[in-house]
Amino acid sequence: MMKFLFMMIFMIPLCFMKNMFWLVQMMLFFMMFLFMNLNLNIMCFFNMSYMSYCDIISFGLILLSIWICSLMIMASESLFKLNFYFNFFLFNVIFLLIMLYLTFSVLNLLLFYFFFEASLIPTLLLIIGWGYQPERIQAGMYLLFYTLFGSLPLLMGIIYIFNDLNTMTIYFLKFFNMNMYLLYISMIFAFLVKMPMYFVHLWLPKAHVEAPVSGSMILAGIMLKLGGYGLLRVMIFLQEVNLKLNYIWIIISLVGGLFISMKCFCQVDMKSLIAYSSVAHMSMVIGGIMVMNYWGFIGSYILMISHGLCSSGMFCLANINYERLHSRSLYINSGMMNFMPSMSLWWFLLLSSNMAAPPSLNLLGEISLINSLVSWSNISMILLMMISFFSAGYSLYLYSYIQHGKYFQGLYSFYVWFISWVFIIIFALISFKYDNFKGWFYFYLILNKK
């Protein structure tokens, strides 16, 4: 694992050279393909070196984060064209990637906390530094203080665990059972805020609306998954107390997911619609993690990966429209099928995978999550049904508003297509197909081994 870390660290000087924008991006792609071919062991951790290791959960999430980071650079090409501190932007992305990489791969709970928090700073810089409106300060403060409020007790919890067990190695935590309520709350609350759970989700739509495209992509793609990853890691030694208290989180997140899905229908801003939809999807992930059965575990993992791909893709598409029309309002963006017919295919593919239509990885995840939650309680069927239905509903709502209908009459001039977007779309396609096949394949493997 050190080799990738060093590769990223030595990419930092490259960020500060002139005209190295695309080179950095290509290096990230290259690194992602190197990482993809890492020797993969399904059942155990592997590639342990120095202080980091990798198991199947970390592997997927690291792969996702390298991938999203390189796509982020690609999508914010306008920074390079406008010369808007793009050197520092590259540095920021690489720094963020290093922090994310270490968060997903470190062996030690305290180091996990450290890098978990450290990934917040570059994200904050992305939002406040490269955002558009003055309201981005408020959004950044919401982001910072919601997450810090949750994660400072997490530090207390981690140090308490160290004092109690004399180990902070994540791998060894499975031999312990900590049956304490306050510890439980302090350990999971940070992750629930990060996910975000229904009551503490307010920072997410705000941050998404104010963030530049790269900030939105990393937020939806990776930041939310940090919470899921943390929950998957800490659940293992909190099993007994979680069995007593999990109904709270499941009920809050499922009912909240329903409310949020309905709220999606009231949105007129593309980005905030996508942001709310990701809150709704993450609510199912929380449910799946909290019921703590095998379906839930696999399903939440798969839905995290697939949601990271498809929601960041949707944010990228929303930004393409925004750069053309300088508005994210659904009324102004309507009828885009007339102008960008080939873009409407991408909107269709990404939205169909957002609503978990058949060929997508989201379907796999949602099937597993529905299985797990129904096995937990039959009553949750009603909520799950409504959430699934509404997710199809708001995806269709977004699609039909943007693509169909009359276009905005006030459009004066409009340029359609850059060659670089073709590349983005092609890469997105590759990842989409590749991840689908690979995901289903792994799923098959895991189930068979079990």
């Binding site: 120095y50 202080m51 808007f84 501190y85 520092f88 922090m99 030690n108 180091l111 906390y113 450290f114 890098f115 928090e117 450290a118 917040l120 700073i121 904050l124 810089l125 406040i128 530094g129 490269w130 003055p134 981005r136 300060i137 950044g140 403060m141 910072l144 203080f145 810090l148 409020f149 400072l152 007790p153 530090l155 207390m156 140090i159 308490y160 160290f162 004092n163």
Partner: protein, 340 residues
């Protein structure tokens, strides 16, 4: 360079500066309470000439206020050591006497319930004098505090420090007052650390003074005293970045150096089972981060509506500051690699 800034290019002040350093050493190394008191008095009398500045009208008032509060505290201290000498045997503890002694020392260092002089005096001092007031002047009272303290009283004072330091800075616009309140908050951490061990205190104190030195020297070089000056000056990008990193570091956010002392103190708090106190420590540091971020709004936003006519003609040639902010970024990460 630092000394010349400190003494304002006035060689007479050099004398008082060295006396000041010397007096602190007297008081922390003397083996009788009376010697400690003498050191404190010399310290007071040598700091007052350093305050005086013919260009600043406030400096006379400031030195008077400083003299009054400090001498009040010294008199109390003297009175209490005499009472202790006459009433108690050598190693006896007495609640009332220890509380009185501690409170006189707390007043000397500007700790919370006796802090009212501190933000006022800070307003009248130059940046470098502020630096001395916030760091060096706290050494001797704090070391003396560690000799003879009342634990419950000090824990109560720590909570007061944390809360007042964090809430007091919320509505301020003067950078000096903000740093004063942040130093009151940090005093809570330092008093706790000196209750645990002197090495821990030294660690916290050194890192805190280093961070505050970076900020103060930056503000000193840019001539900034109020928050709106940060917005109307057209700052270099790297200066903005330094400001940003140093403030986040002082706030104790993880990838920066300032996290390390806070983390270690939290560790000691939890080893000693101060769970509720830890919670207060953390939540007040959240508020502290809030007002630090208010200071660095202008550096967070890379573009905002600037008034173009206030160009600050300062190149980024401050090797010292760049170096220190580099330390601030990297030392934490490097140290994690070392300790693993």
């Amino acid at each position: 360079m630092f000394f010349f800034i400190l003494i304002n290019n006035n060689s007479n002040k050099m004398f008082f500066l060295f006396i000041m350093f010397f007096s602190t050493l007297i008081s922390i190394s003397s083996n009788s309470w009376f010697g400690c008191w003498i050191g404190l008095e010399i310290n007071l009398l040598s700091f007052i000439p350093l305050i005086s500045n013919s260009k600043n009208l406030l400096s006379v008032e400031t030195s008077l206020k400083y003299f009054l509060t400090q001498s009040l505290a010294s008199i109390n201290f003297l009175f209490m050591i005499l009472i202790k000498f006459s009433l108690l045997k050598n190693f006896n503890m007495n609640n009332i006497i220890s509380i009185m002694m501690n409170s006189s020392l707390l007043m000397k260092m500007g700790s919370a319930p006796f802090h009212f002089w501190f933000p006022n005096i800070v307003e009248g001092l130059s940046w470098m004098n502020n630096f001395m007031l916030m760091t060096w002047q706290k050494i001797s009272p704090m070391i003396l505090l560690s000799y003879y303290f009342n634990k419950n009283f000090l824990i109560f004072m720590i909570i007061m420090n944390l809360i007042i330091g964090s809430l007091g800075g919320l509505n301020q616009t003067s950078l000096r007052k903000l740093l004063a309140f942040s130093s009151i908050n940090n005093l809570g951490w330092m008093i706790f650390s000196i209750m645990i061990s002197e090495n821990l205190w030294l660690f916290y104190f050194l890192i805190y003074s280093m961070m505050i030195f970076m900020m103060i020297s930056l503000f000193f070089l840019m001539n900034m005293y109020f928050m709106n000056q940060l917005f109307i000056n057209n700052m270099n990008f790297f200066i903005k970045l330094n400001l940003l990193i140093n403030f986040l570091s002082l706030g104790g956010l993880p990838p920066f150096m300032g996290f390390m002392p806070k983390w270690i103190i939290i560790k000691f708090l939890l080893i000693n089972k101060f769970y509720f106190l830890t919670f207060i420590f953390m939540m007040t540091s959240l508020i502290i981060i809030y007002y630090y971020i208010r200071i660095i709004y202008s550096s967070f936003m890379f573009n905002y509506f600037k008034m173009k006519w206030m160009n600050l003609l300062m190149k980024n040639n401050m090797l010292l500051i760049n170096l220190s902010s580099f330390i601030s970024i990297s030392s934490m990460i490097l140290s994690t690699f070392i300790f693993m």
